[in-house]
Every structure is written in C-alpha cells, then in structure tokens.
Amino acid sequence: MNNLLPLIRNECIKILKKKRFYVILLILAVLVPMFTYAQMRIAERSQDKFNSDWRLEVQQQITDNQNSLSSDRIPEEWKSYRRIFVQQLQYYLDHDVNPNEPSGVTFTREFLDNSVTLFIPLLIMAVASDLVSGERTTGTIKMLLTRPVKRWRVLFSKMTALIMFVSLIVLSTFLVSYLISGLAFGYRGFNVPVFTGFQIGGDTVNMSTVHAVPQWKYILMQCGLIWFVSIVVALLAFMVSVLVRSTAASIVVMMATLIAGTILTNMASAWTTAKYLFMVNLGLTGYLAGTPSPIEGMTLPFSMAVLGTWGLISVIISFTVFTKRDILN
C-alpha cells in the first residue's frame, strides 16, 4: 500500500495539470446559468398565468394531461406514462405540497434528475477517456511501464485517481448548480417535503409505500445514485481507453453508446432484453421520483445489479488486457 500512494498522487497531478477538471468546472459554470435562466422564465410565466397559486398550476397540469388521454393520436406507452404522472400530481395536491416549489434546492434536484443519463456521463468521459489511451497517444506509456512497478499497480493507481475525480465531479455538479441557481431562486428549501416510493405497476401507481422526505435527504439519495451511475460509466470509459489506442476513438465509442442509450430508452419498451444493456439503466434517479422505467420489469435493485455487473466486467477486462498486452508503439 505504501508504494501505491505516490503512484495515485502522480495520476492526480497529471489529471489536474492537464486541466481537464477545470474544463469540467468551466462547462458547469457556463451551462448552469443558462438552465437557471430558462427555469426563471418558466417560473415568471406561470406566475403571470396562475397568480402565483401553485395549486391552480398543478390542477391545470392534471387537466391538460387528462385531456390528452382521450386523444387517439397519442401512443399507448405515453398514455400510461401520463396516467401515472396525473396520479402523482394528484397525490401532491391532496397532501398540499408544491412539487415545483421554486428554490435553488428544487432546481438542483431537477437538474440532477435531467443530467444523470447524459450530461454527467459526458463530463466524466472528459477525464476517463484518455487516462490510458492518452499515455499511448503521446508515447509516455513507455516511460510509465519501464519503471520498476508492476503493471496492475500502475492501472490501479489510475483507477483510484479516476474514482476520486468522479466523486469530485458529482460533488461539484451539485455545488455549482446549487450556488448558481440559488442566486436566482434563493438558497432555502432543504426542508421542503418531496414524495418518494411510488410503486408503478402497469398504469397505476401504488401509493401505499409513498412517503415524504425532506428535500435534503432526497438530494442526498439522488447524489448517491448519481455517484454509482458515474462510477460505472467511468469504469466503462476507462476500459475503452485501455482497449483503444487513440483518445479520440475512445471518446467516440463511449459517446455513441451513451447516445444510443438515450435513443433506446425512448423506443425500446417492446424489446425487453434491452434492459440488460447498461445504457438504458443509467436513469437511476427516476426510480426515486417515480418516473416509469423505460422497459417493463426494471426496478432500482435490477438496474443497480445490471450496472454493477457491467462495471465489474469492465474492471476485469481492463486489468487482464493491460497487464498482458505488448506495447508495440
């Protein structure tokens, strides 16, 4: 262990000096204000329309969704999604809780929900995709592997540094989003109740397990799930970067799979075996909010098991390939 620490330090220094992490912070600092502004406009508009009575707004949402259910042009999958949505809104209304109470905390909660499947994985790829392939592209891998250190230690130190930075990225996404949106919506709202525990079966929502948690607790659970998703994505990107020689190829491979994931989530409800693919399982936070899963039969433990298996397999492949492979160029 004592000679792993200097190696991990090396890897952290390299990630920092390559300025990848600062780029990620910069992207967040540019994009979050944009989303905040968009959210502000929405809030303003509904304020005009409903005289800042959120009950009216929610009631309107319920009516809109119910009306669309009678339309023939809407596919059956969407209808069942809307039926569930209506039931949830009704639950909030019945319990006199505003589901969209505008605050920095609520914004952050929604931002995290929306960014877990694509945005955060993309940020993670910025670090993970060139950890190994970058050393091969520049040839520094030869210097790295001709030192008296076993190869698995080199790879292990890279992986540890990666996991540290992934955690840091998740944390900074939360912090940047909270701090920036707080400027517009205020920093309060940690104790607002949020309902979780909706059990979805077919078209109906089983409300018996629904309970309210304070928003801070909800965000904590969210961040935990996002962290788990992020680690799995990072390990997969890491494996690709071990397998592929160039960083560009490594990024393209991961991007393509992630985007394929979002496309599949929208259309694969008929193809049930797709639920074993990692990319349709990334929306873990949806289980907290009670959004219907993209494919029938997916539950939180199921998705976590699928992701965990993919992560584990990529770790095994990374180590096997990296310790055995000839470095030919």
């Binding site: 190696l7 090396n10 390299k14 040839g139 790295l144 001709t146 030192r147 250190v149 470095i327 030919l328």
Partner: protein, 325 residues
Amino acid sequence: MNNEYGSTAKVVLSVSNVRKKIAHKWIIDDVSFDVREGEIFGFLGPNGAGKTTTIRMLVDLIRPSAGTITVCGYNVNRHPEKALQFVGSIVENPEVYTYLTGWENLQHFARMQPGVDEARIAEVVEIVRLDQRIHDKVRTYSLGMRQRLGIAQALLGRPRLLILDEPTNGLDPKGIKELREFIRQLADEGLAVFVSSHLLSEIQLLCDRVAIISKGRVLAVGGVDELVSRNSPYVLWNVEPYDKGRELLAARNGINITDPADVSLDDTVIAGMGTNSVITIMEDELIPEIVAMLVAAGIEVRGVHKINPTLEQLFLKLTEGETIE
C-alpha cells in the same frame, strides 16, 4: 577506450535464445548476447531489423514468445519490479509529459522507484545540464533538451544498465559529440550501456562491442574493431585527367573499381566528391604507393578519400551477398 571486456567483468544484461512471434510471423528469431559492466554495447541493424522490438523486450514492454532476458540476475518479464530497478531506458523518442515541467516529470518518475529523493533529482539535472530550464514546461523544450531530460529520467534510479534506442536521432553534430563523451564517461564509471543504431559510424565511434542484427537474427557479436576490420574500405580518387587515371587504377592489382550507383555513400561524401572521382575498394596501406605511381605517370592527384565501410557493405560480407531488404 581501454575497457576490460573480457570474461572478468560482471554480466549485467543477459539475453538468451529470445524469440518473438507477432501476427504469425517471427519478428525476432533467436537473439542471444550478454552485456557486461562498464562496456558500451552497440546493437546495429537496418531499420526494420527488429532492434526496437528487442529493446522493448529488454524493458518488459513486450513479452518474448520464447527465451529469457535477465538483468542483474532477475528475469525481466517475470519480475519486472525487481529487474527494472537496475535499468534506465529511453525507448525510441524521449516521450515525457509535455504539460508538466522538466522537474515535475522527474518527480513523477522518482515516485515510481525507491530511494530517489529531491537531492538525486537535482543531481541528475546537473549531470545533463538542464538546470537553467528545468522549471519550464517541457512543451517549450527543444528536441535536444527533451533528449537530455529523457537521459536524466533514465539515470534517476542509479541504474546498472542504460538502454538508449537511437540516441543521436534529431541531435545536431555538437549534441552528438557531447552525448558520445557523456556515454563514455558513464561507462567508465561502471555502467553498462546498450545503444542501438542503424549507423555503423556511430557504433564504431562509441561502442566497445557490437551485435549485428538483420531480419530478427543476430549475424555476429564481437569487438567493434574486429568486425569492422574484416572489410576493406572504399577509397575515392579525384584524378586529372580522369580517363587515364581510371585506366591506371583499374590495371593495378589489389584494386577493384566500383560503380557509384552500387555504393551507398553519405550525402556529405557525395557532395564533396566532384564529378571526376573513381571509387575503388582496396587496402588502405596501398594508398601512398598508388599516389606515387599516378604522379609518376603524370596524373594530377587532386584528392584521395578513405571512406569507412558502410553498414551495407558489412552486411554484404556477413550475409555473403544477401541484400538487406
């Protein structure tokens, strides 16, 4: 250059019967040699002969399909963490992290081996004379400076064996000369140095012993002088009038005239040769005698150049007519 490279010096690197198959082709086919303490060992061969593949096997970047490589008694492929403690190397170009400073690069590699502290880093920086620029980003370094940083990196762990792959690539003549002196100095301090090159002249100027490799096989291992002296040098004659001079040279015993097209000469030689030159293969002891003969026959001798045999010529001799390609 009075190194003892008899059987008394300790063997640092031992390569025995190493073979490597890549994509169903034997890239390296039975390579064996020993490198001893305090000697500069040349590894000579044309591009594509398997020099770099062999070097990569010496430092565990590639695993041999058969055979063993040991450094100071440790098997490189089985116990790299032990064997590589004794090895400093630059494989191909000195690739270091360009986004770090020279000093940060050295710190990075120092953390990967035991017993290298800041004082040692300062020491190697001094040795390669990079102290002026060591805290600048490597991105701003010239190729020569990167080369020196690479050597500093290789020397960090006080190695017993230094492996340099085509170390003079990209260096200017002054840099080459400095590097040569530097390597000699290291060898005199007891380091074993393994240098690869495709230039015979470089090996001749630098090395004590040499292994000649072609198509993945070692053709010969021996003292540099011993191998090189097996060959007669080229002698270039610049004579006036050309035709008569050429006739006389051709008639003399012990002189073979060759066509310039058959000989691969250095560009500098070709540029300085002029048009009226006769290229001969002959023993150099004959030169004074021939000059006298030409002068006596009323021919002006404008210049006589002795050119050392090229690698190609050496190959022709060793492979008896089989060409390199």
